[in-house]
C-alpha cells in the first residue's frame, strides 16, 4: 500500500515535472532544436522534456532535404558568430564519432571574389572557427601552376578553408533517428496557429522556416522567400567546394556534387527549374571551372530560403484558448545559412525553452525587428 502510494507520488511528480514541448517543423531547425533541448537537459541534469514534433509536408518536399549544408556564414554579426561556433562544435563532434554516417562530411575548398572586402568579412565571420583558413597567394591564383584558369589582368582574390558539410538528405534523417531513439514523437499535422498547440503544451517551438513569420502572427511581413536552384551532378573526382562570390558554386556531398545557384530575393516562382536557370548556372560555373563543361546532370531542384534580416530566436508568453498561458520560442528566419547557424540557434532556443542561463548571449542578441503582420502574396502561392 505504502509502496503504491510512493509510486503514485513519484509518478505524479514526474508527470508534472516533465515539460511538454511541441516543435513545429521537422526541417534542420526543428530537428536541431529538439536535439539541443535533449542535449542540454542531459548536460544540466534536468528531466528530459516530452517532445512532439509536428510537420505537415513530407520530408521530400521541404527545403532542408535538398541542401548541401556547407559551413559558411554570410553575415558575421556577433550573434551569428556565436551560433556558428556552437554549430561547428556539434558537427566536429559528430564527425569524430560517426565519420560520414551522420551525414556530416569534412570538406575543403576555395572561394574566389573580385572583392577583397567581401573575403575579409568572411574571415571575420568564421575564419577562426573553421580549419586551415588562409588567403590564396598570387602563384596559387595566377601562376603557371595555378588552381584556376583566370585571365591575368583580373584582380581576383581567394580564400581556402576546411570545414563540414551536413547535407540535409542524410543529416536530417540522422537527427530524426537519434530523436526517435530518445522517445521524441513525430506527428503529421498541419498547424494553423500556435494557440492550437498552446492548449496541450507548455512550450511551443516555432521552427516553421519560411512560414515562421505567418505562424508567429506578428512577423509575416519580415519574411521573404529567396528563390534558389541547385543541380545535382555526377562528378565524383570533384572533392572540394568551389565558389565565386556566393552564387556560383559547387559543393561535393556524399554521393554527388551540387552545382548552383541563384538568389532571387522576393521571388516565389517559377516552382520548377527552368531552362534559363540551367543556362545561367552552368555558364557561370563553367567559366569558373572549365573542366565542368558538359558535366552529367542527375537532377535539379528549386527551393525558397527563409529570408529575414536576422534569425529570430525569441521567447514570448502567450495565451491559448481558454486563457491557458504557454511559452512560445521562435527559431526561424535563417535565410541561406540554416545548416551553418542551425544548431547554434537551436542551443539558444533550447536555453529559452529550459529556462537556462543566457549569459553567453548577453549583449549580442540583436534588437527584435518591428512587428509586421503583412502577409505577402507569396505565402499563399508557396504554402501548399
Amino acid at each position: 500500500m505504502l509502496r503504491r502510494l510512493l509510486l503514485l507520488f513519484f509518478g505524479g511528480v514526474f508527470a508534472v515535472n516533465s515539460l511538454r514541448v511541441a516543435v513545429v517543423g521537422e526541417g534542420v531547425i526543428g530537428l536541431s532544436t529538439a536535439t539541443a533541448i535533449l542535449d542540454l537537459a542531459e548536460k544540466e541534469n534536468i528531466t528530459a522534456p516530452n517532445i512532439q514534433i509536428f510537420h505537415h509536408k513530407p520530408f521530400e518536399k521541404i527545403l532542408s532535404r535538398h541542401i548541401a549544408g556547407l559551413f559558411r556564414i554570410d553575415s558575421g554579426s556577433e550573434i551569428n558568430k556565436k551560433y556558428g561556433y556552437d554549430t561547428f562544435e556539434k558537427l566536429a563532434t559528430l564527425w569524430r564519432e560517426y565519420g560520414g554516417l551522420s551525414g556530416v562530411q569534412l570538406v575543403s575548398g576555395h572561394i574566389l571574389s573580385d572583392s577583397k572586402v567581401k573575403l575579409d568579412s568572411q574571415r571575420v565571420a568564421y575564419g577562426s572557427l573553421v580549419y586551415n583558413y588562409r588567403d590564396l597567394t598570387e602563384p596559387e591564383l595566377f601562376g603557371p601552376t595555378s588552381l584556376f584558369d583566370l585571365p591575368r589582368n583580373t584582380s581576383t582574390h581567394g580564400i581556402h578553408y576546411t570545414a563540414y558539410t551536413s547535407e540535409g538528405l542524410r543529416f536530417c534523417p540522422f537527427l530524426k533517428k537519434e530523436l526517435i531513439a530518445k522517445g521524441v514523437r513525430f506527428t503529421q499535422r498541419r498547424i494553423e496557429n500556435l494557440e492550437e498547440l498552446g492548449a496541450e503544451f507548455d512550450v511551443v517551438v516555432n521552427a516553421a522556416g519560411l512560414f515562421g513569420g505567418v505562424l508567429a502572427g506578428d512577423d509575416a511581413g519580415n519574411m521573404s522567400p529567396i528563390r534558389g536552384v541547385l543541380i545535382r551532378v555526377d562528378a565524383p573526382w570533384h572533392k572540394h567546394f568551389l565558389y565565386r562570390d556566393f552564387s556560383t558554386i559547387t559543393i561535393p556531398v556524399i554521393d554527388s556534387v551540387y552545382m548552383g545557384t541563384v538568389k532571387q530575393e522576393g521571388a516565389y516562382g517559377p516552382n520548377n527549374v527552368t531552362f534559363n536557370d540551367i543556362q545561367d548556372i552552368t555558364s557561370r560555373y563553367v567559366q569558373l571551372q572549365p573542366s565542368f563543361k558538359r558535366v552529367h546532370m542527375l537532377s535539379s531542384f528549386v527551393g525558397y530560403r527563409p529570408g529575414r534580416k536576422q534569425v529570430r530566436v525569441e521567447k514570448q508568453i502567450r495565451e491559448a484558448y481558454g486563457q491557458k498561458k504557454f511559452t512560445v520560442v521562435h527559431n526561424y528566419g535563417h535565410g541561406g545559412n540554416g545548416f551553418t547557424l542551425g544548431y547554434g540557434s537551436a542551443v539558444h532556443a533550447a536555453r529559452l525553452v529550459l529556462d537556462l542561463s543566457l549569459d553567453s548571449y548577453a549583449g549580442i542578441v540583436p534588437e527584435p525587428l518591428p512587428v509586421n503582420s503583412t502577409v505577402g502574396d507569396w505565402v499563399q502561392v508557396l504554402d501548399d
Binding site: A92, W95, L101, P144, S146, T162, W237, S291
Partner: protein
C-alpha cells in the same frame, strides 16, 4: 630516315617518357614494349597522391605539378584520373614534417602546419604535429590509360614482348632504347644491382564521405580515388611475395582505424599488392653501347628506380630523360 626509339615498359614511367619524347622529337618512330598486361604492373593500382620523399627530387616534382595543374584546369577528372585533393599528414616527429615542407611546401597549395585547436578538433587522438596541403592525385588505373590515349594520338605503337636484353631491341633497328623497366631496370641494364622491391598492399573501400587524404607518418594512410578510397599500406623492403594475407589486412586496418576510428568496419571493394621499384636514387643516365651480335652502336637512356614517388616525379624525370634521348640523336 626517322629516328627509331624504343621504350621498355608501359607503366607510368614508360608512358610518360614516350609522351615527352614524342613532343620533343615529333618526327620519330616510337614503340613501347611491355611484357605483362598493364593490370599486373605496379602502375595500375596507386592512388598517386603528389608527395615527395627526398628533397633531391624537388625540382622533378615541381615540373610534374605544373603538368597536373594543366590537366586539372582543362580536362575532366573522369577522363584523366587527375583530381585535386586536400588532406593532412600527422607525425610525432616534427623534423619529418619539416622535411616534407622543404621537399614540396612551396610547390603544392595551402601548405601549412595546423595549430593545436585544429589538430585536437579534427582528429580523435592526434599526433603531436600535423601538416595540411592541397595537391593532385593521379590514380594509376585512369591516368596511365589516359597517357596511352594521348600516345595513340601521337601514333606511338605498343608491342607485347618480353625483353631479355637491350641489345636485341637495338639490333631490331632502334637507335635509342629507353629503359623504363622499373623494378627490373637494373637487371635489364646489366650493370646495376641497386634495385630492390618495396612490397606494398592496399585495400580499396567504399567511403564516399571521405574526401581528404589522411596520413600518419608515411605508411598509414587513406587517399581518395574517384570512386573509392585507398587504405594503405605496407613498405616491406626486399619482399617479393604478392599474396595478400590476413596479417597484411589486419596490420593495415588496425593502424589506420587507430588514426581514424570513423573508418571502422569499412566496406572493402578490392585489394591490391605490388612491388615498388626501390632504389637509392632515380637513375636517369645515358650510355653509349654496342650490340654484341652485330656491333651496332646505340644509346640506352636509363629511366627507372622511382620507389614510392613514380607518379609524383615521373613527368619531371621524363623531361630530363627525353633531353638525353634528343642529345643522343644529335638533335
Amino acid at each position: 630516315m626517322l629516328p627509331k626509339i624504343a621504350v621498355i615498359g608501359e607503366g607510368v614511367i614508360g608512358c610518360t617518357s614516350a609522351l615527352q619524347i614524342a613532343k620533343a622529337i615529333p618526327n620519330s618512330i616510337i614503340t613501347i614494349f611491355h611484357d605483362k598486361p598493364f593490370e599486373n604492373s605496379c602502375s595500375a593500382g596507386p592512388a598517386g597522391l603528389f608527395r615527395i620523399d627526398y628533397e633531391e627530387n624537388t625540382e622533378y616534382g615541381r615540373a610534374s605539378f605544373a603538368w597536373f595543374s594543366h590537366l586539372y584546369r582543362t580536362t575532366k577528372g573522369a577522363e584523366t584520373g587527375v583530381k585535386l585533393v586536400s588532406g593532412h599528414i600527422q607525425s610525432d616527429n616534427l623534423e619529418s614534417l619539416k622535411q616534407q615542407q622543404r621537399a614540396y611546401g612551396d610547390i603544392v597549395y595551402n601548405f601549412r602546419f595546423l595549430d593545436d585547436r585544429e589538430r585536437l578538433d579534427m582528429f580523435p587522438s592526434p599526433s603531436k604535429h600535423c601538416i595540411h596541403y592541397t595537391a593532385y592525385a593521379s590514380e594509376g588505373n585512369k591516368y596511365v590509360p589516359y597517357l596511352k590515349s594521348l600516345l595513340l594520338e601521337q601514333k606511338v605503337e605498343f608491342q607485347q614482348k618480353n625483353v631479355e636484353s637491350l641489345d636485341t631491341i637495338a639490333d631490331a633497328g632502334y637507335d635509342v632504347v629507353v629503359n623504363c623497366a622499373g623494378l627490373y631496370g637494373g637487371k635489364l641494364a646489366g650493370d646495376d644491382d641497386q634495385c630492390y622491391p618495396i612490397r606494398g598492399v592496399i585495400l580499396e573501400v567504399d567511403a564516399p564521405w571521405h574526401k581528404h587524404f589522411n596520413y600518419r607518418d608515411f605508411t598509414t594512410f587513406t587517399i581518395p580515388k574517384e570512386n573509392s578510397v585507398v587504405i594503405g599500406s605496407t613498405k616491406q623492403d626486399n619482399r617479393w611475395d604478392l599474396e595478400i594475407t590476413d596479417e597484411d589486412r589486419n596490420d593495415i586496418l588496425s593502424r589506420y582505424i587507430e588514426l581514424h576510428p570513423g573508418m571502422r568496419e569499412p566496406k572493402i571493394l578490392k585489394e591490391w599488392s605490388a612491388l615498388r621499384p626501390g632504389r637509392k636514387h632515380v637513375r636517369i643516365e645515358s650510355q653509349k653501347r654496342k650490340t654484341n651480335e652485330t656491333g651496332k652502336e646505340y644509346t640506352v637512356v636509363h629511366h627507372y628506380g622511382h620507389g614510392s614517388n613514380g607518379f609524383t616525379l615521373g613527368w619531371g624525370t621524363a623531361i630530363e630523360a627525353s633531353k638525353l634521348v634528343k642529345k643522343a640523336l644529335g638533335l
